[in-house]
Amino acid sequence: MLYRENGQFKTSYRADLQIFPIAQDRIAIVALLAVAFVVVPLVADQYYLRAILIPFLILSLAALGLNVLVGYCGQISLGTGAFMAVGAYAAYNFFIRVDGMPMLAAVLLGGLCATAVGVVFGIPSLRIKGLYLAVATLAAQFFVDWAFLRITWFTNDAPSGSVGVRNLSVFGLPIESPVQKYLFTLTVVVVFALLVKNLVRSAIGREWMAIRDMDVAAAVIGIRPVYAKLTAFAVSSFVVGVAGALWGFIYLGSWEPAAFSIDRSFQLLFMIIIGGLGSIMGSFFGAAFIVLLPIFLDQALPALGTAVGLRLDTAFVSHVTIMIFGALIVFFLIVEPHGIARLWSTGKEKLRLWPFPH
């Protein structure tokens, strides 16, 4: 009987239009943020911060961006890695070449460059649809990979073509220790999540979804497919680009195009499909699932092995990890094609009715 919205009457549209109309949800989210910002930094050890939470957050951000394009506007893209790469390398160049360029500014500028590239590679979407478009976006993936390997200017003529950054800081605060990196990433992600949420529940968001659901009808009520699709590509690749910059700056510290390979693109697509297309929350669920599962399996299997008293060799473990990973993905798609986010809402529905079955 705890989770109810009845008794909470909305007296203004404003009140009805907030992100979490139900009071309990608002409380929950505040609590979650409190934990994320205060408790986690205090308790989590280096490994969890550096190797799990930070990549989880950054990839959630990327997934969020991709979700705008695929989930909300219905344009499938397999070239996400490319846009991350553009973000990372552009940010790197701003950071290295411009004296005293603040890191945050560099990251955002990187995002803008990704936007430009994203729009260019979005143009085919005006004519090509569905799977054809999906495969076509791979052109972006391979071209960008190639460009950053071949055009040495982008990599500041590093002999190996691999670049890196050090001594990061924001507004004078150093971003060196895991906790600092974590908090910085978290802040960026939260802000972007809010902005994107606002977009998708505003006019532009409705235009995207209209194009996704029924483009002819959308055109008839005066929505321009060109504008809707290209803005989707722009916003999406901006967010993805920023995520890419963070991936390079905060997580890897030093990277090469391989860090944004086609596998990354697939990984992100998995996140939004498993998490839930067209759902902000889903992006986070998906990221959690895809990031944590392999790491978890990779460590759980040997542990289980020793538990039953046999030493599993590394190759076997990682092969089995891939197997289980693949199998679980299929399993998930079967039980809930609409992703974890849908499960979440079903769960909440059930909770509302609890303890009455219907």
């Binding site: 968001g205 659901d213 009520i221």
Partner: protein, 275 residues
């Protein structure tokens, strides 16, 4: 049929104190081909302000294609369309919408993933001016704008009596209600001309009566000109001022319901088939 006899009476505001105005939409010699197939051949008719204009004809007569030409979904090979004195060879969907022509669809073309509210809100998009950044920040003007339009949409929701389903994804609504939402989305554009493509297809008598009432109310209260495609002859004859009859992409009749009813060609081609 017997249900529709009493329709005018049912539709409370039925008694026409609305005066029919000048020609607002004029279709001249439209011809449309898909490869070899002729969808429309040399169609001409006009629509006067405030009137209810019906387009009837058997299946595949080219009725929907006609509407699609009017709001720029299809580009006819020949002919022109004049709207409020401006003549166009090809209509551009957005332009048409801007000029105040709205449209409902035969096979529902709602945005299935979105709630009733959002579906109708899309009808307001043309009027929302705030740019991406404002929308992203959603403070001050952007939020005010959103709320204003929300208010308008709520009025439409009340008018169509679908308050209870505000936040339901339209995909889950029964057919009849979806038809209403479709109408609501069109109304949200505050159109001067409303193109209705078989608004009553597949409805039972009660639903048809409701829908007729909505249509006539719209026509009366907002003085909206209505172009209507309908199969149900009874309905058409009852609520429309003038009727165009199409058959195999050709115009075979045009005039008041009574004239059309009397037209032998129409009887042969159309009424013949219904009985």
């Amino acid at each position: 049929m017997e249900g529709s006899v009493t329709l005018k009476a049912l539709a409370g505001a039925g008694m026409p104190h609305r005066k029919i105005g000048e020609v607002i939409l004029d279709v001249q010699n439209i011809s449309l081909r898909f490869g070899g197939v002729k969808a429309l051949t040399d169609i001409s008719f006009d629509v006067r302000e405030h009137e209810v204009r019906a387009i009837i004809g058997p299946n595949g007569a080219g009725k929907s294609s006609m509407l699609n030409c009017i709001n720029g979904v299809y580009q006819p090979q020949q002919g022109a369309i004049t709207f409020r004195g401006k003549t166009f060879k090809h209509m551009n969907s957005r332009q048409v919408a801007k000029m105040g022509v709205a449209r409902t669809f035969q096979s529902l073309a709602l945005f299935k993933g979105m709630s009733v509210l959002d579906n109708i809100m899309t009808g307001r998009n043309l009027r929302m001016k705030r740019n991406l950044l404002w929308q992203a920040l959603r403070i001050g003007p952007a939020e005010r704008e959103e709320n204003e339009h929300r208010a308008v949409v709520e009025r439409i929701i009340d008018f169509l009596e679908i308050q209870a389903w505000r936040k339901t994804p339209v995909g889950r609504l029964p057919y009849g209600l979806q038809k209403r939402v479709d109408l609501g989305r069109a109304l949200a554009m505050e159109p001067q001309v409303l193109l209705l493509d078989e608004p009553m297809a597949g409805m039972n008598v009660e639903e048809k009566q409701d829908m007729c009432r909505f249509i006539l109310d719209v026509n009366d209260e907002f003085g909206t000109t209505i172009v209507l495609i309908e199969h149900d002859m009874g309905v058409v004859m009852d609520i429309s001022d003038r009727v165009v009859v199409l058959d195999y992409g050709k115009k075979i009749g045009d005039g008041t319901p009574d004239e059309v009813r009397a037209n032998p060609e129409v009887i042969k081609a159309y009424l013949g088939t219904t009985h």
